[in-house]
Symmetry: C2
Amino acid sequence: MKTYKELYTIIEQEISKLKYDKKPDELYQPITYMLSLGGKRLRPVLVVMAADMFGVDIRKAIPAALAVEVFHNFTLVHDDIMDHADIRRGQLTVHKKWDEPVAILSGDLMMIKAIDLLCETDIDPIRPLISLFNKTAAEVCEGQQLDMNFEKYAVVTESEYIEMITLKTAVLLGCSLQIGAMVSGASTDDQFHLYEFGKNMGIAFQIQDDILDSFGEGEKVGKKIGGDITSNKKTLLLIEALNAAKGEDLIALKHWLSVNDNDEAKINGVLGIYNKYDVRGKAENLKENHLQIAFEHLNKLSVAEENTIILKQTAVDLMERMS
Amino acid sequence: MKTYKELYTIIEQEISKLKYDKKPDELYQPITYMLSLGGKRLRPVLVVMAADMFGVDIRKAIPAALAVEVFHNFTLVHDDIMDHADIRRGQLTVHKKWDEPVAILSGDLMMIKAIDLLCETDIDPIRPLISLFNKTAAEVCEGQQLDMNFEKYAVVTESEYIEMITLKTAVLLGCSLQIGAMVSGASTDDQFHLYEFGKNMGIAFQIQDDILDSFGEGEKVGKKIGGDITSNKKTLLLIEALNAAKGEDLIALKHWLSVNDNDEAKINGVLGIYNKYDVRGKAENLKENHLQIAFEHLNKLSVAEENTIILKQTAVDLMERMS
Protein backbone atom coordinates (compact mmCIF):
# COMPACT_ATOMS: atom_id res chain seq x y z
CA MET A 1 0.00 0.00 0.00
CA LYS A 2 1.30 3.40 -0.98
CA THR A 3 1.24 6.27 1.51
CA TYR A 4 -0.81 9.44 1.03
CA LYS A 5 2.39 11.29 0.19
CA GLU A 6 3.40 8.75 -2.45
CA LEU A 7 -0.04 8.88 -4.04
CA TYR A 8 -0.04 12.68 -3.83
CA THR A 9 3.28 12.80 -5.68
CA ILE A 10 1.95 10.56 -8.45
CA ILE A 11 -1.17 12.71 -8.79
CA GLU A 12 0.92 15.89 -8.96
CA GLN A 13 3.04 14.37 -11.73
CA GLU A 14 -0.04 13.32 -13.67
CA ILE A 15 -1.64 16.76 -13.28
CA SER A 16 1.53 18.42 -14.57
CA LYS A 17 1.32 16.22 -17.67
CA LEU A 18 -2.15 17.50 -18.56
CA LYS A 19 -1.79 19.81 -21.55
CA TYR A 20 -4.46 22.43 -21.97
CA ASP A 21 -2.60 24.66 -24.40
CA LYS A 22 -5.04 25.08 -27.24
CA LYS A 23 -6.35 28.44 -28.49
CA PRO A 24 -7.86 30.80 -27.53
CA ASP A 25 -5.51 31.37 -24.60
CA GLU A 26 -8.16 33.01 -22.39
CA LEU A 27 -10.13 29.78 -22.46
CA TYR A 28 -7.36 27.25 -21.84
CA GLN A 29 -4.85 29.09 -19.64
CA PRO A 30 -7.23 29.34 -16.64
CA ILE A 31 -7.43 25.53 -16.57
CA THR A 32 -3.66 25.15 -16.26
CA TYR A 33 -3.61 28.06 -13.80
CA MET A 34 -6.23 26.55 -11.51
CA LEU A 35 -4.64 23.10 -11.60
CA SER A 36 -1.26 24.65 -10.69
CA LEU A 37 -2.56 26.27 -7.49
CA GLY A 38 -1.93 23.04 -5.61
CA GLY A 39 -3.76 21.87 -2.54
CA LYS A 40 -4.02 18.49 -0.84
CA ARG A 41 -5.36 16.78 -3.98
CA LEU A 42 -7.58 14.87 -1.57
CA ARG A 43 -10.17 13.75 -4.11
CA PRO A 44 -7.85 12.26 -6.75
CA VAL A 45 -5.71 10.71 -4.00
CA LEU A 46 -8.84 9.01 -2.62
CA VAL A 47 -9.59 7.59 -6.08
CA VAL A 48 -6.17 5.96 -6.44
CA MET A 49 -6.04 5.03 -2.74
CA ALA A 50 -9.20 2.96 -3.17
CA ALA A 51 -7.75 1.24 -6.24
CA ASP A 52 -4.52 0.53 -4.34
CA MET A 53 -6.56 -0.93 -1.48
CA PHE A 54 -8.15 -3.45 -3.83
CA GLY A 55 -4.73 -4.41 -5.17
CA VAL A 56 -5.35 -2.91 -8.59
CA ASP A 57 -2.61 -1.12 -10.55
CA ILE A 58 -3.35 2.49 -9.67
CA ARG A 59 -2.57 3.56 -13.24
CA LYS A 60 -5.98 2.20 -14.12
CA ALA A 61 -7.55 4.79 -11.80
CA ILE A 62 -5.47 7.79 -12.91
CA PRO A 63 -7.78 9.18 -15.64
CA ALA A 64 -10.79 9.01 -13.30
CA ALA A 65 -8.73 10.59 -10.49
CA LEU A 66 -7.80 13.46 -12.79
CA ALA A 67 -11.44 13.77 -13.88
CA VAL A 68 -12.50 14.28 -10.27
CA GLU A 69 -9.77 16.89 -9.68
CA VAL A 70 -10.61 18.83 -12.86
CA PHE A 71 -14.30 18.68 -11.94
CA HIS A 72 -13.53 19.92 -8.41
CA ASN A 73 -11.53 22.84 -9.82
CA PHE A 74 -14.37 23.66 -12.21
CA THR A 75 -16.71 24.02 -9.21
CA LEU A 76 -14.14 26.25 -7.48
CA VAL A 77 -13.90 28.58 -10.49
CA HIS A 78 -17.67 29.00 -10.69
CA ASP A 79 -18.17 29.14 -6.90
CA ASP A 80 -15.58 31.90 -6.65
CA ILE A 81 -17.62 34.02 -9.07
CA MET A 82 -20.82 33.40 -7.10
CA ASP A 83 -19.15 34.01 -3.74
CA HIS A 84 -17.29 37.14 -4.97
CA ALA A 85 -14.03 35.57 -3.79
CA ASP A 86 -10.90 37.38 -4.95
CA ILE A 87 -8.24 35.04 -3.60
CA ARG A 88 -7.86 31.26 -3.79
CA ARG A 89 -4.81 29.58 -2.25
CA GLY A 90 -3.03 32.92 -2.03
CA GLN A 91 -3.51 33.67 -5.74
CA LEU A 92 -6.10 35.66 -7.68
CA THR A 93 -9.25 33.75 -8.57
CA VAL A 94 -9.88 33.22 -12.29
CA HIS A 95 -12.57 35.90 -12.59
CA LYS A 96 -10.20 38.39 -10.91
CA LYS A 97 -7.06 37.43 -12.88
CA TRP A 98 -9.04 37.41 -16.15
CA ASP A 99 -12.72 38.38 -16.00
CA GLU A 100 -16.13 36.85 -15.29
CA PRO A 101 -16.95 35.73 -18.84
CA VAL A 102 -13.57 33.96 -19.00
CA ALA A 103 -14.23 32.30 -15.64
CA ILE A 104 -17.70 31.15 -16.67
CA LEU A 105 -16.52 29.78 -20.01
CA SER A 106 -13.24 28.17 -18.93
CA GLY A 107 -15.16 26.62 -16.03
CA ASP A 108 -17.62 25.15 -18.54
CA LEU A 109 -14.72 23.77 -20.53
CA MET A 110 -13.24 22.17 -17.39
CA MET A 111 -16.51 20.31 -16.82
CA ILE A 112 -16.35 19.03 -20.42
CA LYS A 113 -12.68 18.02 -19.99
CA ALA A 114 -13.54 16.21 -16.75
CA ILE A 115 -15.98 14.00 -18.65
CA ASP A 116 -13.32 13.44 -21.33
CA LEU A 117 -10.85 12.25 -18.70
CA LEU A 118 -13.45 10.02 -17.08
CA CYS A 119 -14.14 8.39 -20.46
CA GLU A 120 -10.44 7.55 -20.80
CA THR A 121 -10.91 5.01 -18.00
CA ASP A 122 -10.29 1.46 -19.18
CA ILE A 123 -13.54 -0.05 -17.91
CA ASP A 124 -16.46 -1.67 -19.65
CA PRO A 125 -19.29 -0.78 -19.44
CA ILE A 126 -18.46 2.84 -18.68
CA ARG A 127 -22.02 4.05 -18.15
CA PRO A 128 -22.18 3.22 -14.40
CA LEU A 129 -19.02 5.29 -13.87
CA ILE A 130 -20.42 8.30 -15.75
CA SER A 131 -23.75 7.86 -14.00
CA LEU A 132 -22.13 7.99 -10.53
CA PHE A 133 -19.98 10.95 -11.54
CA ASN A 134 -22.93 12.89 -12.98
CA LYS A 135 -25.22 12.13 -10.05
CA THR A 136 -22.55 13.51 -7.74
CA ALA A 137 -21.89 16.53 -9.98
CA ALA A 138 -25.59 17.42 -9.88
CA GLU A 139 -25.60 17.05 -6.09
CA VAL A 140 -22.61 19.38 -5.77
CA CYS A 141 -24.59 22.00 -7.73
CA GLU A 142 -27.57 21.44 -5.42
CA GLY A 143 -25.33 21.90 -2.38
CA GLN A 144 -23.91 25.18 -3.71
CA GLN A 145 -27.44 26.47 -4.42
CA LEU A 146 -28.60 25.49 -0.90
CA ASP A 147 -25.55 27.21 0.58
CA MET A 148 -26.43 30.43 -1.26
CA ASN A 149 -30.09 30.10 -0.26
CA PHE A 150 -29.19 29.61 3.42
CA GLU A 151 -27.40 32.97 3.50
CA LYS A 152 -30.81 34.57 2.88
CA TYR A 153 -32.81 32.43 5.33
CA ALA A 154 -33.53 33.62 8.87
CA VAL A 155 -33.70 30.06 10.21
CA VAL A 156 -31.81 26.98 9.05
CA THR A 157 -32.17 23.69 10.92
CA GLU A 158 -29.29 21.41 11.83
CA SER A 159 -30.51 18.72 9.45
CA GLU A 160 -30.83 21.23 6.60
CA TYR A 161 -27.27 22.28 7.27
CA ILE A 162 -26.03 18.68 7.25
CA GLU A 163 -27.88 18.09 3.97
CA MET A 164 -26.20 21.15 2.46
CA ILE A 165 -22.64 20.21 3.41
CA THR A 166 -23.32 16.61 2.41
CA LEU A 167 -24.24 17.72 -1.09
CA LYS A 168 -21.76 20.55 -1.46
CA THR A 169 -18.67 18.76 -0.10
CA ALA A 170 -19.13 15.26 1.27
CA VAL A 171 -20.65 13.37 -1.66
CA LEU A 172 -17.65 14.11 -3.88
CA LEU A 173 -15.34 12.46 -1.33
CA GLY A 174 -17.61 9.42 -1.22
CA CYS A 175 -17.82 9.44 -5.01
CA SER A 176 -14.01 9.59 -5.34
CA LEU A 177 -13.58 6.45 -3.24
CA GLN A 178 -16.43 4.66 -4.99
CA ILE A 179 -14.93 5.49 -8.38
CA GLY A 180 -11.64 3.96 -7.26
CA ALA A 181 -13.54 0.87 -6.12
CA MET A 182 -15.59 0.69 -9.30
CA VAL A 183 -12.52 0.92 -11.52
CA SER A 184 -11.02 -1.91 -9.43
CA GLY A 185 -14.01 -4.14 -10.03
CA ALA A 186 -14.98 -4.10 -6.33
CA SER A 187 -18.36 -5.50 -5.28
CA THR A 188 -21.33 -3.15 -5.02
CA ASP A 189 -21.26 -3.74 -1.24
CA ASP A 190 -17.66 -2.57 -1.00
CA GLN A 191 -18.46 0.36 -3.29
CA PHE A 192 -21.34 1.34 -1.01
CA HIS A 193 -19.31 1.14 2.20
CA LEU A 194 -16.45 3.16 0.72
CA TYR A 195 -18.90 5.79 -0.53
CA GLU A 196 -20.52 6.06 2.90
CA PHE A 197 -17.12 6.20 4.60
CA GLY A 198 -16.04 9.08 2.34
CA LYS A 199 -19.35 10.90 2.67
CA ASN A 200 -19.43 10.74 6.46
CA MET A 201 -15.76 11.65 6.70
CA GLY A 202 -16.53 14.66 4.51
CA ILE A 203 -19.38 15.75 6.78
CA ALA A 204 -17.12 15.46 9.85
CA PHE A 205 -14.36 17.33 8.04
CA GLN A 206 -16.68 20.20 7.15
CA ILE A 207 -17.97 20.46 10.74
CA GLN A 208 -14.36 20.50 11.95
CA ASP A 209 -13.71 23.34 9.52
CA ASP A 210 -16.56 25.33 11.05
CA ILE A 211 -15.32 24.66 14.59
CA LEU A 212 -11.74 25.64 13.81
CA ASP A 213 -12.71 28.92 12.21
CA SER A 214 -14.13 30.05 15.55
CA PHE A 215 -12.17 28.00 18.08
CA GLY A 216 -8.90 27.05 16.34
CA GLU A 217 -5.47 28.41 17.06
CA GLY A 218 -4.75 31.02 14.39
CA GLU A 219 -1.25 29.91 13.46
CA LYS A 220 -2.12 26.24 13.07
CA VAL A 221 -5.32 26.88 11.11
CA GLY A 222 -3.37 29.14 8.80
CA LYS A 223 -6.06 31.75 8.51
CA LYS A 224 -7.58 34.47 10.63
CA ILE A 225 -9.77 33.13 13.40
CA GLY A 226 -13.32 34.43 13.49
CA GLY A 227 -13.64 35.12 9.78
CA ASP A 228 -16.89 33.16 9.65
CA ILE A 229 -18.23 35.23 12.56
CA THR A 230 -17.35 38.63 11.08
CA SER A 231 -18.83 37.62 7.70
CA ASN A 232 -22.05 36.25 9.33
CA LYS A 233 -21.44 32.90 7.62
CA LYS A 234 -24.19 30.39 8.39
CA THR A 235 -21.89 27.81 9.94
CA LEU A 236 -23.12 24.95 12.07
CA LEU A 237 -22.10 26.96 15.14
CA LEU A 238 -24.20 29.97 14.19
CA ILE A 239 -27.12 27.76 13.23
CA GLU A 240 -26.97 25.93 16.58
CA ALA A 241 -26.67 29.25 18.43
CA LEU A 242 -29.61 30.82 16.58
CA ASN A 243 -31.71 27.74 17.37
CA ALA A 244 -30.63 27.52 21.04
CA ALA A 245 -30.28 31.11 22.26
CA LYS A 246 -33.20 32.53 24.23
CA GLY A 247 -34.40 35.97 25.26
CA GLU A 248 -31.68 38.57 25.59
CA ASP A 249 -29.02 36.22 24.23
CA LEU A 250 -30.95 35.83 20.98
CA ILE A 251 -31.43 39.60 20.79
CA ALA A 252 -27.70 40.08 21.40
CA LEU A 253 -26.76 37.48 18.77
CA LYS A 254 -29.00 39.14 16.19
CA HIS A 255 -27.48 42.48 17.14
CA TRP A 256 -23.99 41.17 16.45
CA LEU A 257 -25.18 39.84 13.07
CA SER A 258 -26.37 43.36 12.20
CA VAL A 259 -23.11 45.20 12.98
CA ASN A 260 -19.76 45.24 11.20
CA ASP A 261 -17.82 48.13 12.73
CA ASN A 262 -15.69 46.32 15.32
CA ASP A 263 -14.48 42.85 14.39
CA GLU A 264 -12.90 42.02 17.75
CA ALA A 265 -15.97 43.04 19.75
CA LYS A 266 -18.19 41.10 17.35
CA ILE A 267 -16.07 37.94 17.55
CA ASN A 268 -15.92 38.12 21.36
CA GLY A 269 -19.62 38.87 21.63
CA VAL A 270 -20.64 35.97 19.39
CA LEU A 271 -18.12 33.57 21.00
CA GLY A 272 -19.62 34.47 24.40
CA ILE A 273 -23.02 33.26 23.22
CA TYR A 274 -21.47 30.19 21.53
CA ASN A 275 -19.82 29.29 24.85
CA LYS A 276 -22.94 29.91 26.95
CA TYR A 277 -24.97 27.49 24.83
CA ASP A 278 -22.07 25.12 24.25
CA VAL A 279 -22.57 25.09 20.50
CA ARG A 280 -19.02 23.81 20.14
CA GLY A 281 -19.92 20.76 22.17
CA LYS A 282 -22.97 20.13 20.00
CA ALA A 283 -20.86 20.46 16.86
CA GLU A 284 -18.15 18.16 18.26
CA ASN A 285 -20.79 15.54 19.04
CA LEU A 286 -22.22 15.71 15.56
CA LYS A 287 -18.72 15.46 14.10
CA GLU A 288 -17.90 12.41 16.24
CA ASN A 289 -21.16 10.73 15.23
CA HIS A 290 -20.30 11.03 11.57
CA LEU A 291 -16.73 9.90 12.11
CA GLN A 292 -18.04 6.84 13.91
CA ILE A 293 -20.45 6.04 11.09
CA ALA A 294 -17.55 6.46 8.65
CA PHE A 295 -15.36 3.98 10.53
CA GLU A 296 -18.21 1.47 10.86
CA HIS A 297 -18.52 1.41 7.08
CA LEU A 298 -14.77 0.98 6.77
CA ASN A 299 -14.94 -2.07 9.02
CA LYS A 300 -17.58 -3.65 6.80
CA LEU A 301 -15.31 -3.70 3.76
CA SER A 302 -14.41 -7.16 2.47
CA VAL A 303 -10.69 -6.29 2.20
CA ALA A 304 -8.06 -7.21 4.81
CA GLU A 305 -8.18 -4.84 7.78
CA GLU A 306 -4.55 -3.84 7.26
CA ASN A 307 -5.53 -2.47 3.86
CA THR A 308 -8.05 -0.11 5.45
CA ILE A 309 -5.49 1.43 7.80
CA ILE A 310 -4.38 4.03 5.29
CA LEU A 311 -7.95 5.29 4.88
CA LYS A 312 -8.42 5.44 8.66
CA GLN A 313 -5.10 7.26 8.95
CA THR A 314 -6.08 9.69 6.19
CA ALA A 315 -9.31 10.53 8.02
CA VAL A 316 -7.48 11.03 11.31
CA ASP A 317 -4.78 13.16 9.68
CA LEU A 318 -7.36 15.32 7.97
CA MET A 319 -9.19 15.89 11.24
CA GLU A 320 -5.99 16.67 13.12
CA ARG A 321 -4.38 18.60 10.32
CA MET A 322 -5.31 21.91 11.83
CA SER A 323 -6.71 21.29 15.31
CA MET B 1 -39.48 10.05 -44.22
CA LYS B 2 -41.06 12.38 -41.72
CA THR B 3 -41.34 16.11 -42.40
CA TYR B 4 -39.57 18.78 -40.34
CA LYS B 5 -42.91 19.65 -38.79
CA GLU B 6 -43.62 16.05 -37.79
CA LEU B 7 -40.16 15.67 -36.27
CA TYR B 8 -40.51 19.05 -34.54
CA THR B 9 -43.79 17.94 -32.97
CA ILE B 10 -42.20 14.72 -31.68
CA ILE B 11 -39.27 16.69 -30.21
CA GLU B 12 -41.63 19.15 -28.53
CA GLN B 13 -43.54 16.26 -26.95
CA GLU B 14 -40.33 14.66 -25.71
CA ILE B 15 -39.06 17.96 -24.28
CA SER B 16 -42.34 18.45 -22.43
CA LYS B 17 -41.86 15.01 -20.84
CA LEU B 18 -38.49 15.97 -19.32
CA LYS B 19 -38.98 16.41 -15.60
CA TYR B 20 -36.53 18.70 -13.85
CA ASP B 21 -38.53 19.22 -10.69
CA LYS B 22 -36.07 18.38 -7.93
CA LYS B 23 -35.05 20.76 -5.14
CA PRO B 24 -33.77 23.40 -4.74
CA ASP B 25 -36.25 25.15 -7.06
CA GLU B 26 -33.80 27.91 -8.08
CA LEU B 27 -31.54 25.28 -9.60
CA TYR B 28 -34.09 23.16 -11.47
CA GLN B 29 -36.81 25.64 -12.50
CA PRO B 30 -34.53 27.56 -14.91
CA ILE B 31 -33.99 24.34 -16.89
CA THR B 32 -37.73 23.85 -17.43
CA TYR B 33 -38.10 27.58 -18.09
CA MET B 34 -35.39 27.66 -20.77
CA LEU B 35 -36.67 24.51 -22.47
CA SER B 36 -40.20 25.98 -22.55
CA LEU B 37 -39.14 29.12 -24.47
CA GLY B 38 -39.51 27.24 -27.75
CA GLY B 39 -37.66 27.94 -30.96
CA LYS B 40 -37.15 25.90 -34.12
CA ARG B 41 -35.57 22.97 -32.23
CA LEU B 42 -33.25 22.75 -35.23
CA ARG B 43 -30.51 20.73 -33.52
CA PRO B 44 -32.62 17.91 -32.04
CA VAL B 45 -34.68 17.78 -35.24
CA LEU B 46 -31.45 17.29 -37.22
CA VAL B 47 -30.49 14.39 -34.93
CA VAL B 48 -33.75 12.51 -35.52
CA MET B 49 -33.89 13.56 -39.18
CA ALA B 50 -30.54 11.85 -39.79
CA ALA B 51 -31.76 8.70 -38.04
CA ASP B 52 -34.95 8.76 -40.12
CA MET B 53 -32.85 9.12 -43.28
CA PHE B 54 -31.00 5.90 -42.48
CA GLY B 55 -34.28 4.10 -41.89
CA VAL B 56 -33.73 3.72 -38.16
CA ASP B 57 -36.57 4.04 -35.63
CA ILE B 58 -36.19 7.65 -34.55
CA ARG B 59 -36.96 6.71 -30.95
CA LYS B 60 -33.42 5.40 -30.78
CA ALA B 61 -32.14 8.92 -31.45
CA ILE B 62 -34.46 10.77 -29.03
CA PRO B 63 -32.21 10.79 -25.92
CA ALA B 64 -29.25 12.11 -27.93
CA ALA B 65 -31.50 14.68 -29.62
CA LEU B 66 -32.65 15.90 -26.21
CA ALA B 67 -29.02 15.95 -25.02
CA VAL B 68 -28.10 18.29 -27.86
CA GLU B 69 -31.06 20.58 -27.14
CA VAL B 70 -30.33 20.72 -23.38
CA PHE B 71 -26.66 21.40 -24.15
CA HIS B 72 -27.62 24.17 -26.60
CA ASN B 73 -29.83 25.78 -23.97
CA PHE B 74 -27.00 25.54 -21.41
CA THR B 75 -24.80 27.57 -23.77
CA LEU B 76 -27.59 30.13 -24.22
CA VAL B 77 -27.96 30.59 -20.44
CA HIS B 78 -24.25 31.21 -19.97
CA ASP B 79 -23.84 33.27 -23.17
CA ASP B 80 -26.68 35.55 -22.06
CA ILE B 81 -24.77 36.33 -18.85
CA MET B 82 -21.56 37.07 -20.77
CA ASP B 83 -23.38 39.14 -23.40
CA HIS B 84 -25.48 41.03 -20.81
CA ALA B 85 -28.60 39.99 -22.70
CA ASP B 86 -31.86 40.69 -20.89
CA ILE B 87 -34.34 39.12 -23.29
CA ARG B 88 -34.38 35.74 -25.04
CA ARG B 89 -37.29 34.80 -27.29
CA GLY B 90 -39.37 37.62 -25.83
CA GLN B 91 -38.87 36.45 -22.24
CA LEU B 92 -36.44 37.41 -19.51
CA THR B 93 -33.10 35.60 -19.61
CA VAL B 94 -32.34 33.32 -16.65
CA HIS B 95 -29.90 35.72 -14.97
CA LYS B 96 -32.52 38.49 -15.23
CA LYS B 97 -35.51 36.40 -14.10
CA TRP B 98 -33.45 34.91 -11.23
CA ASP B 99 -29.89 36.15 -10.77
CA GLU B 100 -26.38 35.49 -12.07
CA PRO B 101 -25.37 32.80 -9.56
CA VAL B 102 -28.57 30.90 -10.38
CA ALA B 103 -27.85 31.24 -14.11
CA ILE B 104 -24.26 30.02 -13.72
CA LEU B 105 -25.25 27.06 -11.56
CA SER B 106 -28.40 25.94 -13.38
CA GLY B 107 -26.41 26.24 -16.60
CA ASP B 108 -23.77 23.94 -15.12
CA LEU B 109 -26.49 21.49 -14.18
CA MET B 110 -27.90 21.56 -17.72
CA MET B 111 -24.49 20.54 -19.07
CA ILE B 112 -24.46 17.61 -16.62
CA LYS B 113 -28.02 16.64 -17.57
CA ALA B 114 -27.08 16.79 -21.27
CA ILE B 115 -24.41 14.14 -20.69
CA ASP B 116 -26.94 12.07 -18.72
CA LEU B 117 -29.36 12.17 -21.65
CA LEU B 118 -26.60 11.29 -24.10
CA CYS B 119 -25.71 8.26 -21.98
CA GLU B 120 -29.31 7.02 -22.21
CA THR B 121 -28.67 6.29 -25.89
CA ASP B 122 -28.95 2.59 -26.67
CA ILE B 123 -25.62 2.22 -28.44
CA ASP B 124 -22.51 0.21 -27.68
CA PRO B 125 -19.76 1.33 -27.35
CA ILE B 126 -20.96 4.75 -26.21
CA ARG B 127 -17.53 6.38 -25.96
CA PRO B 128 -17.39 7.58 -29.62
CA LEU B 129 -20.74 9.33 -29.12
CA ILE B 130 -19.56 11.10 -25.95
CA SER B 131 -16.25 11.90 -27.60
CA LEU B 132 -17.93 13.61 -30.56
CA PHE B 133 -20.32 15.45 -28.26
CA ASN B 134 -17.53 16.67 -25.97
CA LYS B 135 -15.25 17.70 -28.83
CA THR B 136 -18.09 19.80 -30.19
CA ALA B 137 -18.96 21.20 -26.76
CA ALA B 138 -15.35 22.36 -26.30
CA GLU B 139 -15.39 23.95 -29.76
CA VAL B 140 -18.59 25.84 -28.94
CA CYS B 141 -16.80 27.28 -25.88
CA GLU B 142 -13.84 28.22 -28.08
CA GLY B 143 -16.19 29.96 -30.52
CA GLN B 144 -17.86 31.98 -27.77
CA GLN B 145 -14.46 33.05 -26.42
CA LEU B 146 -13.29 34.07 -29.92
CA ASP B 147 -16.52 36.03 -30.42
CA MET B 148 -15.87 37.94 -27.17
CA ASN B 149 -12.23 38.49 -28.13
CA PHE B 150 -13.17 39.85 -31.57
CA GLU B 151 -15.24 42.62 -30.00
CA LYS B 152 -11.97 43.98 -28.58
CA TYR B 153 -9.86 43.53 -31.72
CA ALA B 154 -9.31 46.40 -34.16
CA VAL B 155 -8.87 44.02 -37.09
CA VAL B 156 -10.46 40.62 -37.69
CA THR B 157 -9.86 38.77 -40.95
CA GLU B 158 -12.54 37.03 -42.96
CA SER B 159 -11.02 33.62 -42.22
CA GLU B 160 -10.86 34.38 -38.49
CA TYR B 161 -14.52 35.30 -38.62
CA ILE B 162 -15.43 32.09 -40.45
CA GLU B 163 -13.48 30.09 -37.87
CA MET B 164 -15.37 31.81 -35.07
CA ILE B 165 -18.87 31.18 -36.45
CA THR B 166 -17.83 27.64 -37.39
CA LEU B 167 -16.94 26.91 -33.78
CA LYS B 168 -19.66 28.94 -32.10
CA THR B 169 -22.59 27.82 -34.25
CA ALA B 170 -21.85 25.55 -37.18
CA VAL B 171 -20.10 22.56 -35.57
CA LEU B 172 -23.13 21.82 -33.34
CA LEU B 173 -25.32 21.49 -36.44
CA GLY B 174 -22.78 19.13 -38.00
CA CYS B 175 -22.50 17.25 -34.71
CA SER B 176 -26.29 16.88 -34.46
CA LEU B 177 -26.48 15.22 -37.85
CA GLN B 178 -23.45 13.02 -37.17
CA ILE B 179 -24.94 11.90 -33.86
CA GLY B 180 -28.12 10.87 -35.69
CA ALA B 181 -25.97 8.96 -38.19
CA MET B 182 -23.83 7.37 -35.47
CA VAL B 183 -26.86 6.19 -33.52
CA SER B 184 -28.15 4.67 -36.78
CA GLY B 185 -24.96 2.71 -37.33
CA ALA B 186 -24.09 4.70 -40.48
CA SER B 187 -20.62 4.33 -42.02
CA THR B 188 -17.88 6.75 -40.99
CA ASP B 189 -17.99 8.14 -44.54
CA ASP B 190 -21.67 8.94 -44.26
CA GLN B 191 -21.09 10.38 -40.78
CA PHE B 192 -18.36 12.62 -42.18
CA HIS B 193 -20.45 13.89 -45.10
CA LEU B 194 -23.43 14.63 -42.88
CA TYR B 195 -21.20 16.47 -40.41
CA GLU B 196 -19.70 18.58 -43.20
CA PHE B 197 -23.14 19.24 -44.68
CA GLY B 198 -24.40 20.48 -41.31
CA LYS B 199 -21.29 22.52 -40.58
CA ASN B 200 -21.27 24.30 -43.94
CA MET B 201 -25.02 24.87 -43.79
CA GLY B 202 -24.47 26.42 -40.36
CA ILE B 203 -21.78 28.76 -41.69
CA ALA B 204 -24.06 29.84 -44.56
CA PHE B 205 -26.94 30.30 -42.15
CA GLN B 206 -24.87 32.53 -39.87
CA ILE B 207 -23.69 34.67 -42.79
CA GLN B 208 -27.31 34.99 -43.91
CA ASP B 209 -28.16 36.17 -40.40
CA ASP B 210 -25.54 38.89 -40.66
CA ILE B 211 -26.78 39.98 -44.08
CA LEU B 212 -30.41 40.13 -43.01
CA ASP B 213 -29.72 42.23 -39.95
CA SER B 214 -28.45 45.00 -42.23
CA PHE B 215 -30.28 44.33 -45.51
CA GLY B 216 -33.39 42.36 -44.59
CA GLU B 217 -36.96 43.60 -44.60
CA GLY B 218 -37.84 44.44 -41.00
CA GLU B 219 -41.22 42.71 -40.84
CA LYS B 220 -40.01 39.43 -42.30
CA VAL B 221 -36.86 39.27 -40.19
CA GLY B 222 -38.95 39.88 -37.10
CA LYS B 223 -36.47 42.22 -35.49
CA LYS B 224 -35.27 45.77 -35.94
CA ILE B 225 -33.02 46.19 -38.96
CA GLY B 226 -29.60 47.67 -38.27
CA GLY B 227 -29.26 46.39 -34.71
CA ASP B 228 -25.84 44.94 -35.51
CA ILE B 229 -24.76 48.31 -36.95
CA THR B 230 -25.92 50.40 -33.99
CA SER B 231 -24.26 47.96 -31.53
CA ASN B 232 -20.98 47.88 -33.55
CA LYS B 233 -21.27 44.10 -33.76
CA LYS B 234 -18.33 42.56 -35.61
CA THR B 235 -20.42 40.94 -38.32
CA LEU B 236 -18.98 39.64 -41.58
CA LEU B 237 -20.25 42.83 -43.24
CA LEU B 238 -18.41 45.13 -40.84
CA ILE B 239 -15.27 43.00 -41.06
CA GLU B 240 -15.34 43.10 -44.88
CA ALA B 241 -15.97 46.86 -44.81
CA LEU B 242 -13.14 47.53 -42.36
CA ASN B 243 -10.81 45.47 -44.52
CA ALA B 244 -11.93 47.02 -47.84
CA ALA B 245 -12.62 50.70 -47.09
CA LYS B 246 -9.90 53.15 -48.01
CA GLY B 247 -9.02 56.73 -47.14
CA GLU B 248 -11.98 58.89 -46.19
CA ASP B 249 -14.38 55.97 -46.27
CA LEU B 250 -12.35 54.17 -43.60
CA ILE B 251 -12.20 57.34 -41.52
CA ALA B 252 -15.97 57.74 -41.91
CA LEU B 253 -16.61 54.10 -40.96
CA LYS B 254 -14.48 54.44 -37.84
CA HIS B 255 -16.31 57.66 -37.02
CA TRP B 256 -19.66 55.85 -37.18
CA LEU B 257 -18.27 53.13 -34.91
CA SER B 258 -17.39 55.81 -32.35
CA VAL B 259 -20.79 57.52 -32.17
CA ASN B 260 -24.08 56.37 -30.70
CA ASP B 261 -26.29 59.44 -30.64
CA ASN B 262 -28.33 59.02 -33.83
CA ASP B 263 -29.20 55.44 -34.78
CA GLU B 264 -30.79 56.29 -38.13
CA ALA B 265 -27.86 58.43 -39.29
CA LYS B 266 -25.42 55.75 -38.14
CA ILE B 267 -27.27 52.95 -39.94
CA ASN B 268 -27.53 55.00 -43.16
CA GLY B 269 -23.90 56.10 -42.92
CA VAL B 270 -22.58 52.57 -42.44
CA LEU B 271 -24.93 51.11 -45.07
CA GLY B 272 -23.60 53.70 -47.52
CA ILE B 273 -20.09 52.37 -47.03
CA TYR B 274 -21.33 48.75 -47.14
CA ASN B 275 -22.96 49.50 -50.50
CA LYS B 276 -19.98 51.37 -51.93
CA TYR B 277 -17.68 48.40 -51.27
CA ASP B 278 -20.35 45.80 -52.03
CA VAL B 279 -19.74 43.94 -48.79
CA ARG B 280 -23.16 42.35 -49.20
CA GLY B 281 -22.03 40.84 -52.48
CA LYS B 282 -18.91 39.45 -50.85
CA ALA B 283 -20.96 37.99 -48.01
CA GLU B 284 -23.50 36.48 -50.44
CA ASN B 285 -20.65 34.85 -52.39
CA LEU B 286 -19.17 33.38 -49.25
CA LYS B 287 -22.58 32.11 -48.20
CA GLU B 288 -23.20 30.50 -51.60
CA ASN B 289 -19.78 28.84 -51.50
CA HIS B 290 -20.56 27.18 -48.20
CA LEU B 291 -24.04 26.17 -49.31
CA GLN B 292 -22.51 24.56 -52.38
CA ILE B 293 -19.96 22.66 -50.28
CA ALA B 294 -22.81 21.54 -48.03
CA PHE B 295 -24.83 20.17 -50.96
CA GLU B 296 -21.77 18.44 -52.43
CA HIS B 297 -21.38 16.50 -49.19
CA LEU B 298 -25.06 15.64 -49.24
CA ASN B 299 -24.68 14.16 -52.72
CA LYS B 300 -21.85 11.93 -51.54
CA LEU B 301 -24.03 10.14 -48.98
CA SER B 302 -24.59 6.45 -49.63
CA VAL B 303 -28.36 6.73 -49.07
CA ALA B 304 -30.95 7.02 -51.84
CA GLU B 305 -31.10 10.56 -53.21
CA GLU B 306 -34.80 10.84 -52.36
CA ASN B 307 -33.88 10.39 -48.69
CA THR B 308 -31.62 13.45 -48.81
CA ILE B 309 -34.36 15.72 -50.14
CA ILE B 310 -35.63 16.60 -46.68
CA LEU B 311 -32.18 17.80 -45.61
CA LYS B 312 -31.82 19.87 -48.78
CA GLN B 313 -35.29 21.29 -48.21
CA THR B 314 -34.47 22.07 -44.57
CA ALA B 315 -31.37 23.99 -45.64
CA VAL B 316 -33.30 25.93 -48.29
CA ASP B 317 -36.16 26.70 -45.88
CA LEU B 318 -33.71 27.92 -43.24
CA MET B 319 -32.02 30.22 -45.72
CA GLU B 320 -35.33 31.54 -47.06
CA ARG B 321 -37.04 31.64 -43.70
CA MET B 322 -36.52 35.35 -43.38
CA SER B 323 -35.08 36.64 -46.64
